[in-house]
Every structure is written in structure tokens, then in C-alpha cells.
Symmetry: C2
Subunit: 223 residues, 2 copies
Amino acid sequence: MTRDTCPVATARPLRRDAELNRQKIIAAAKVVFGERGLEATLDDIAHYAGLGVGTVYRRFPSKEHLVEALFVAKFEEITELAEKALTEPDPWDGFVMFAWKTAELHAEDRGLRDVMLSTTFGQDKVAHAKEEMIPVCNRLVERAQASGQLRADVRPSDLALLHLMIGSVAEYAHDVQPGLWRRYLGMLLDGLRAQPGAPSALACGPLDEETLDVAMCNWHPHH
Amino acid sequence: MTRDTCPVATARPLRRDAELNRQKIIAAAKVVFGERGLEATLDDIAHYAGLGVGTVYRRFPSKEHLVEALFVAKFEEITELAEKALTEPDPWDGFVMFAWKTAELHAEDRGLRDVMLSTTFGQDKVAHAKEEMIPVCNRLVERAQASGQLRADVRPSDLALLHLMIGSVAEYAHDVQPGLWRRYLGMLLDGLRAQPGAPSALACGPLDEETLDVAMCNWHPHH
DNA sequence: GATTATGTGGAGTAGGTATCTCCTCTTATG
DNA sequence: CATAAGAGGAGATACCTACTCCACATAATC
């Protein structure tokens, strides 16, 4: 079943054209997974890359291999983001900055949401990269709570659910108002403050009635 | 509530066993659509009802007919809920009460979410029932804003997106902590106050790390 | 520039799923 | 008892997706 060409233990380098095609596949996968999520097929990606299906399957024996190649790097990027947020002088600012940046990544990349919130995609390496993120996020939450700015009953797992909610808005409104998620992240963050002041200005206007209608027409839950 | 929605105008009444089976189908559809959403097939419903597929298809020529029979009544129920919320003495209490009750309906019934937020299920009658809801919801929002309790930049469409977010949490955590959505609705409502006080107590504890892991394993985005 | 290892394209296969029909058998009703 | 109405469920049809196979093309090597 699984033939040769596992990215591991390649003694011999790829032929020049093959290496070029490999890059094309990865670039195409970023776009296609990003737009349509992990439900996209390797056939779709091959077509988008202007290559034959067989080419993709020889380079990446299964979707899993491709997912791994793409998302381990992404998770490392997020961990770095959290570390950077920890160096922010104000703990609340650091927390909020991290929330906005990661939400943006989720909104831009539907595939990230699938991989982040499910265990059905990616195996060992992805799982490991995910675990690396956890302690850093924990510290980010604890620090913002210790400073009395983040409400005390928040837990790190709330970040995951926050991304779930924001991701669902981003997906829903993607075609009609791609930034709509900012509106609701703003509201949610207001709801996370330990000592709320006046509501903060929302970063995006609402959907008007017709636009909501269009979004409803475009939305086909599941598949 | 669902009696008069037979596809063909009733010239002759159904045979006794046929009428009984019709009820069984509707009861089964409520359960199955409620648990698995509108992606469930009429075959699934037939099996759950202990009937043959043909029986279901004779009574409801298509999924649409069945959906209509179920959800027009549900929407009318929601409209009544909104009207009742309008009679609440305190406008904010009325708004919040409506949000909790409707969120509960969404959390209990995955099918409702599909029909409410998409136009791909149900046709004229469902669309009409949906439109009936709009002006009442508008008044509910306006009233809470006029009293200075709901932030002024909220729009009625925000209710739809709120239900999208809450529904996605309810679905995600359904098997591990069915009430989790209450936690996030609480946070969101805190974020909707024009003059927030101290954060309100959350109606549900967070997901702990292992439970989140289980939820991640159970979640298969799309299909 | 001939030879060969390597890579490519995409039709095709296998296997799954969903909707809905058809026809035989069963049952309520007058 | 007669018979019209209903029940059941295999299976026709029409998808979809993952993955393979091999005749043909191309890079690398000599």
C-alpha cells in the first residue's frame, strides 16, 4: 500500500522537476486546505497545483503525510506567538494580543481549525506540536489572572472553545464579510475582563439583514 | 401542531395504522434530526421508528416535507417566546431570558440550528415562519437598548451569530459536557451589557484537559 | 545523444453513501 | 370475505472519495 518515497530516510535527492512539484503541492495544499478545510481531497489539491493526482499520491502517500508537513510548522508558529505574548509588559495586553493573532490565523485558514480542534487529522508529530503549545498558553492565562485583569474562572481550555466559536463565525461569513469574526471576538473579550469598563469599540460592523440572508444561502452545514 | 401539515390536502383520512405510523415518523424525526442534525437520512428515521423506508417516503415525499412539518411549529414557538420576553418588565431581563431559552432550544436540537441558519432546508413555509420571527426579535433588541442596558451597537443579526457560536459549542461538547454552552453564553451576555458590572457567575464549569481531549476525538468536522 | 532511472497524468477501480422506486406481501375496513 | 390501502426493504440510480496503474515523458548519467 504505502510505497516508497516516505519523506524519511531519503538517501537519494529528488529529481529537480519532482522537487519543484513537491513545492507546488505544498503551496496548493496551503491554499486549498485554507479555503475549504481538511475535507478537500488530494485530487482537489492536485488540480489546483496543475498536476496529476498520481503525482501528489507518489509524493505524499496519504493526506496525513501532507497535513503533517503543513501543520507542524503552523503550531510551532503559534507557540512562538504565545511566547512573544508572555513578554508583553501588560499581562492583559499579552493575552488579548495572543487571542487576536490566533483568531486571525483560524479565520484565515479553515484547515487549521480542523487540525486544532480535532484529533482525526495528523498523527504523532501534530499531536506533539499541539502539546508543546499547552504550557505556554497556561502561563499566558495564569499571568493575566494574577494581574487581576482576566476573570478568575477562566481556564486554558476556554481558549480552545473561543477559537471554535470564532472559527464558526469566520466560516459562516467568509464569503460576505470576512472580518465579521472580529466583532464577536471583541464582545467575548469584553466578557472575559475581571473588572470590565465601558464596552470596547467593535472592530467590525454587523451583518445587515440582506447580507445575513446571503450567508444563510451559502451555508450548507456538514459536507 | 404538526397535524395539518400533510403534503396532500386530505380528501380521505388515513387508515388507522397509517396515521399511527405517521406519528411515529414525526416522533422519530424529532429525535434523529435533533441528535444528528439535518444530515440524517429518511432511511435513518425510518429505521429509528421501526418502519420501512417506503413507508416514510409515501407519507413524506421528500425530506423537505418532513422538515416543514417539524420546524414551522418550532419557529412559531420561538416567536411566542420572543413575545413573552417582550412582556417582561425589565427589558434586559426579557432579552436575556430570550437568549437563554432559544440557546437552549439550539443546544437540544441540532436540526434547529441547521434550519435556522441555512436556507438549504425547508422552503416557503419555513422561510415564512422565519420571517415572522424577525420583527419581534427586533423589538426585543431595541427595547433593551432604549433602556440603556444592551450596548447600542448590537443589531438583531447578532442574535443569529450568537446562536451559531453557542450551537457550535453545544455540538462540540455534546457527548462530554452537554451544558457547556451555558458557560459561553454567560460570557457573551456579559460582553453585551452597555454598563457592565462585575462578571456574572458562569452557569457551567470549564472543560478540563482530558475532557477536551475526548471532545476533540469525537469531533469530525464536516460529514 | 543514447540509455535508463525516475517522474507524470489522469482514466479507471473499488467501495462508500444518499435518495427514492418498485413490487410483493400484509392488514384494516366495510 | 373482498379489496383497497399500506408496509417493507432490496435495489436502481447517481453521486462521491481514496487510491492505483501504466503508457508516456523527462532529467540525469555516461
